[in-house]
């Protein structure tokens, strides 16, 4: 070292070797990227097999490159350099449209094909009547004893939905027996458009802080849905489909984009990106049609999405499996959400810290790691053998999958509840709130976004499970949509598994299997994207 200690001056501090550290750092980077890159390569490979972009005409690619890719890149590049929040807004609108379009397909399957619109309407009315009564009762919360309120609420729902056999009909029955029933598209407009109108109206009223604007937005949402159903058939679109897609996908996206355009002046330029994508796609589609360029001969096409299994891979489809997956997820959510959140609230807020609660703690963590095939065996043993239920139904499949994700829901809900700051609980207790009042008014509202995020991610796990469904005897091939909780059910991963094992021919391997995988992954990513958006939104708010 060139250090002159005698004079007190330092010529140089010397060098410290970092070679090992640098090597270590890049090894860590390699470890991080290994799994992601491997999976990405596989996904590109599968997607290429399923969608086959190279089978399209060169002109088709060129057209879309000019109408879609170039304008989007230009706008996106400009925004990325000048105004990143605006780019995020534009991306959000595009993502919202894509995800909601996908969900509108699911909603259409459920509310057109699985539940006939009239039946749906009858249950909506049957639920709304007692719900209105509950709202009225809540107004007089202070005057009516708790037990009486619970009893009245329960009785109202049971009377409305079940009626009294022999004496008077339940409300759904009355609705179904009405002498004049509206057309399906009217019912869909009323129910789905009504839900969209309420959501959009509240959203607009909140961001504009103006009730009139909210009412106007809600009314236009309903009107737009009705208009789509009327105009749709003249353009060759089914009225029911037009009503569903408009109310589920277009109306919320328009409301979000419109709201952003009005309230976020700095960022509204980002809507140009969304416009570039939408207009580019439409112009491109119109152009290739007019110019006669053939698109890719994708295996993921309308036929694949809307038909059942077939002996030949070209004609095979995923429709019953998609519907089955949706019904399964609805059942799983309905079962696992209340059970999981209930257990989480008990363990976090009520359970004393003793040996028993620690025992439960450890075992919930263990249950989260139990292989899914074991849960399948449990479902078979408990529901089929012991309770004597038929095999492979929606109810049994849903219950088994609900058991599978229950520990995950509990653990993620507990984390969300634990993240509620302790001083908020203190504030509530300090005001003289009971534990129940604190949980209801402070803890659950604050933890709800986290609970919801965790539950959606857990549902994402359930939707990809195959082994439990095989164990409970779900059929490999189903030609019709399940329409009741007691119908046999198939699911997307099970159908893909069946194609790759029972029908293991070259054809199925190269056509139907990749197409099924792509659809399954698209649904999964859509669900997870909603969970991630929710999480980011509420994290940035706190």
């Amino acid at each position: 070292m060139a250090t002159d200690t005698d004079s007190g001056y330092i010529d140089s501090f010397g060098q410290v070797s970092r070679t090992t550290g640098t090597v270590f750092r890049y090894l860590l980077l390699a470890a991080t990227m290994f799994g992601i890159v491997t999976l990405a390569v596989l996904l590109v490979y599968v997607a290429n097999d399923a969608i086959r972009p190279l089978t399209a005409d060169l002109g088709w690619h060129l057209t879309f490159f000019l109408t879609l890719v170039v304008p989007t890149t230009v706008v996106g590049g400009y925004l990325a350099r000048r105004n990143v929040p605006a780019l995020k807004l534009g991306g959000m609108v595009v993502g919202m449209l894509a995800v909601f379009l996908m969900f509108s397909g699911g909603v259409a399957i459920v509310f057109v094909d699985i539940i006939p619109p009239l039946t749906g309407l009858s249950y909506v009315v049957g639920l709304l009547v007692p719900a209105a009564l509950v709202v009225v009762l809540t107004k007089y919360e202070q005057q009516i004893p708790f037990t009486l309120r619970v009893a009245a609420t329960g009785a109202a729902f049971i009377l409305s939905l079940v009626g009294v056999p022999g004496y008077f009909h339940s409300i759904p029955e009355i609705v179904r027996q009405l002498p004049v029933v509206p057309a399906d598209w009217m019912i869909l407009t009323l129910v789905l458009g009504g839900v969209a109108a309420v959501v959009v109206g509240q959203y607009v009223a909140r961001i504009r802080e103006n009730t009139t604007a909210g009412l106007a937005a809600g009314a236009s949402a309903l009107l737009l849905t009705g208009l789509a159903a009327v105009v749709g058939p003249t353009l060759g679109v089914d009225a029911n489909a037009a009503a569903v897609v408009t109310s589920v996908a277009f109306v919320p996206t328009l409301a979000y984009a419109g709201g952003a355009a009005v309230t976020r002046e700095q960022e509204r330029i980002g809507l140009l990106l969304a416009a570039a994508v939408v207009v580019g796609s439409l112009v491109g589609a119109f152009a290739v049609d007019a110019l006669g360029f053939a698109g890719p001969q994708s295996w993921v096409d309308w036929q694949f999405l809307t038909s059942a299994h077939s002996g030949t891979a070209e004609n095979a489809g995923l429709y019953p499996a998609i519907g089955g997956s949706i019904l399964l997820m609805a059942t799983v959510a309905a079962l696992s959400f209340p059970l999981g959140v209930g257990a989480a609230v008990y363990l976090e807020e009520y359970a004393p810290d003793n040996a028993f609660s620690r025992f439960i703690d450890v075992n919930i963590s263990n249950l989260a790691g139990v292989p899914s095939v074991v849960y399948g065996l449990l479902g078979l043993g408990v529901f089929v053998t012991y309770l004597g239920q038929p095999t492979g139904t929606v109810l049994i499949g849903g219950a088994t999958l609900a058991l599978l994700i229950l520990p995950i829901v509990i653990i993620s809900s507990r984390e969300a509840i634990r993240a509620v700051p302790g001083d908020m609980r203190q504030a509530s207790y300090g005001m003289g709130a009971t534990r129940w009042q604190t949980v209801k008014n402070v803890v659950l509202p604050e933890a709800f976004p986290g609970i919801l995020t965790g539950t959606i991610l857990a549902l994402g796990r359930a939707i990809g499970e195959t082994a439990p469904l095989i164990m409970i005897g779900a059929p490999n091939v189903l030609f019709n949509l399940p329409t009741e909780l007691t119908s046999k059910v198939s699911a997307m991963p099970l159908q893909v598994y069946a194609w790759s094992s029972l029908f293991a021919s070259e054809d199925f391997y190269t056509k139907a299997v990749p197409a099924g995988v792509v659809v399954l992954l698209a649904v999964l990513l859509a669900m997870n994207s909603i969970a991630i958006v929710l999480r980011n939104k509420f994290e940035s708010e706190n």
């Binding site: 202070q142 504030a427 509530s428 207790y429 300090g430 003289g432 008014n441 509202p445 604050e446």
Partner: protein, 296 residues
Amino acid sequence: MSQRDKAPEGEQQAMNGTEDPTNDEMLVETDVSDGLSASGNSVGREAETVISSENINVWYGDDHALTDISMDIPENSVTAMIGPSGCGKSTFLRCINRMNDLIDVARVEGGLTLRGKNVYDDDVDPVALRRRVGMVFQKPNPFPKSIYENVVYGLKIQGIDADYDEVVEESLKRAALWDEVKDRLHESGLDLSGGQQQRLCIARAIATDPEVLLMDEPASALDPVATSQIEDLVEELAEDYTVVIVTHNMQQAARISDKTAVFLTGGELVEFDDTQKIFENPESQRVEDYITGKFG
């Protein structure tokens, strides 16, 4: 409810009505305004004493946090508790409304009476007790709800039937926050500044018209301007409430309190007297050392 009817002027009277009659079983004597004379249930307390502790001991597990604390806190005054960190002053505050019950390992022995009723008696419901004692915490902790909802929270959970709009305006005015927030009552309480949040918490605490207001270092997380606002507010509130305030800021205690209790290490109450006497002529050498900054 007629008890909550307020004299249009005269803030002194305004918040003195009794609350929900169902709570009266906990404390026989509830009316602050004439609590001195109508003391039929008195167990030998001094005329003006609101809170009286006798040999309170608190343990956190094996840790002896408070040792034999006995003190009488007078009505409509500010009683400050000062002392170094970890000396047990906050612990004593939490004994008064039994917030220590929420800590699993905490154990309290001895007696503490609030207007003559021992709050550690078996028949005392800690939740009902807390409804009569307002508390403001060290860190401002408004709920993630609107300003309006924050103020009426206590009324809602306690089932007090009152004109909410009126209570909100009254409480926010008394907390010196009304002018700053009257146009945005429905915005989130979390959007306020730290000092405003703390005044919102004070408004929330007094909205239910408690007997006593406990403040646990209410200004320690605030800047000097917000701190002086809170201090002014405390002095004003003492006209109607019995305020017990924990602070580690001796100047603050000297400025705003009528009586001062000095806690020193080991959870002992070393001296409790008029503030002036404590700061000018303390009996104990240890207190003098602490106040003059020789230790602590």
